[in-house]
Assembly symmetry: C2
Homo-oligomer: 315 residues x 2
């Protein structure tokens, strides 16, 4: 998309085999089969080449490899380069988000996060899409907003970096739950209840961690949550679906080509909920299904028969 | 459901033909075909019989007939009867919600509204469902919460009556837009963006009218919005789908057996947005498509190329 807008874009590719495929055929047959990429787009296996001289660098690695990758990359970047992350998760060891990891480097004060409902395979087909770009630095966010906007890709800015990140990360946990509900044969009432009560948990934790609760009503919150919980295109949703069909987590993970971030995020979310003493029954249920051997159906039923409550904001 | 819980339930039926069907076969072949109703459920065509001596009366009429129907019914009710509305709309002539109409009667101080993602055909199949019951009167809300709760039907209470009502009403307008998006062949990114930016409009108007913005993150807000915008079971969604396929509104309305409230609500929403000077571009677009002859595709494209903005809460 950016290449078609006329920017000089270089894509760093981790897998040498995929790099060869891309350089030969200008089509990402692994992850976006059938889509021809812009002829001006360049590919490299050398991270220094991908970062050096760039005005904007977009980081799209899984969270568990972000820390070492960013350290390698930023060493080659200019000080004025704006770094943007599209990763969605929370580091298991430190319980930090990607912007918090990045800002351990003094060079990353203008760090931006990009989030929102945006399956790549629809963006490449020019389906109307809207995302949010959050930064503590208004100027950096505005640069990225204008660089990325086009008639089918609408960009909003935000200052609530942690809120935007937590929405994007935690929604993957709820997507596993949505997949379980589908796999158990439940209907759309149940799915809508899960999305809403999942959002309530996200708001509770997010607010405790300093986010603006209304950020979760935005594109990176409810927007991405709805997308991920209502589409089989989501990897996390697929994990839940397969769990409900009786497959084990290790079996499922072994057959997936891409990372289902939610499986890692649920550990961090569980740890944060205990640390912050925030009630997160759905996160607890998914943790129990993934790592404590609880049956999906029993987990769902236990959620339904809890004490009756007020639907207070964040209650 | 309530009859199965052991309550003595009498259902008032408007259409004499349907009343006969129900009394003969204990199955609502018009609206819930294939589902046997509880043997203890009684049916009547006499509103006095349905209301008299009841502890709780649940009103489920379309908004445009609620005012005269409620006036007829409440004349037969005991003063301590709790009235609950499941209607979702805004009266065109007065721009009032159902609770505002009801509370013109002094007897209706304990009036409750029931809302949330709850397609009847899933509730009758005992699919896990969660709803919210809002009232200015905590005791009334708690009574209804406990009367209606069962292991597959989870009830939350709220004090934000207007917020709960506006979420339920305005989501029908967004459902028409979601149907249009599907009918135009767009993807789930677009749908998620519509839901999120639609929610932002609902929050803006709702807050201006006195609602708590966080209510719209709840079951009657985002919960019902997601349900209605992601399922062809929704009548309003179907209206949008047919519009995008080129059928006229009058053609569509003539072939529908049930009322698509969103078609009426969009007029009230448009009037309220002008009266309150609240920017509601999606409501304006749907109004233009329904009543000003604008083409659905042009309406969508115009929404995408507006000025770039901040994603501020309610902005």
């Amino acid at each position: 998309m950016l290449s078609e807008k006329g920017y000089a874009v270089t894509q760093w590719v981790y897998e040498p085999e995929l790099l060869e495929v891309l350089q030969r055929g200008r089509c990402n047959t692994w992850y976006l089969p059938g889509q021809e990429l812009d002829a001006r787009l360049r590919f490299t296996g050398d991270i220094a080449e991908a970062v050096r001289e760039m005005q904007v660098v977009l980081w799209v690695a899984p969270v568990k490899v972000f820390r070492p990758l960013f350290a390698r990359g930023i060493a080659h970047a200019r000080p004025e380069t704006i770094h943007v992350s599209a990763a969605k998760g929370i580091e298991n060891e430190t319980l930090k988000t990607v912007s918090q990891i990045a800002r351990e480097n003094r060079e990353a004060e203008t760090f931006c996060v990009l989030s929102g409902p945006s399956f790549a395979r629809e963006v490449i087909r020019k389906m109307p899409t809207a995302v949010v770009i959050a930064s503590q630095d208004d100027r950096a966010a505005a640069v990225v907003q204008n660089v990325m906007a086009c008639p089918f890709f609408r960009t909003y800015t935000s200052r609530d970096v942690i809120g935007v990140e937590l929405g994007g990360a935690l929604k993957n946990v709820m997507a596993i739950a949505a997949g379980i509900i589908e796999g158990l044969g439940y209907g759309v009432n149940t799915r809508a209840a899960l999305i809403t009560r999942g959002l309530a948990e996200i708001i509770r934790l997010g607010t405790a961690l300093g986010a603006d609760p209304l950020t979760f009503s935005g594109l990176s919150g409810i927007g991405d949550l709805v997308l991920t919980c209502t589409s089989e295109q989501s990897r996390n949703y697929s994990v839940g679906l397969e769990l409900a069909r009786g497959r084990s987590l290790s079996e499922i993970m072994n057959t997936m080509k891409m990372v289902a971030e939610g499986v890692y995020t649920v550990r961090s979310a569980r740890a944060l909920s205990l640390q912050q003493r925030i009630e997160m029954p759905i996160v607890g249920a998914i943790h129990a299904v993934l790592f404590e051997g609880k049956a999906p159906l029993a987990a769902l039923q236990d959620l339904m028969i809890r004490d009756l409550k007020q639907e207070a904001p964040g209650a």
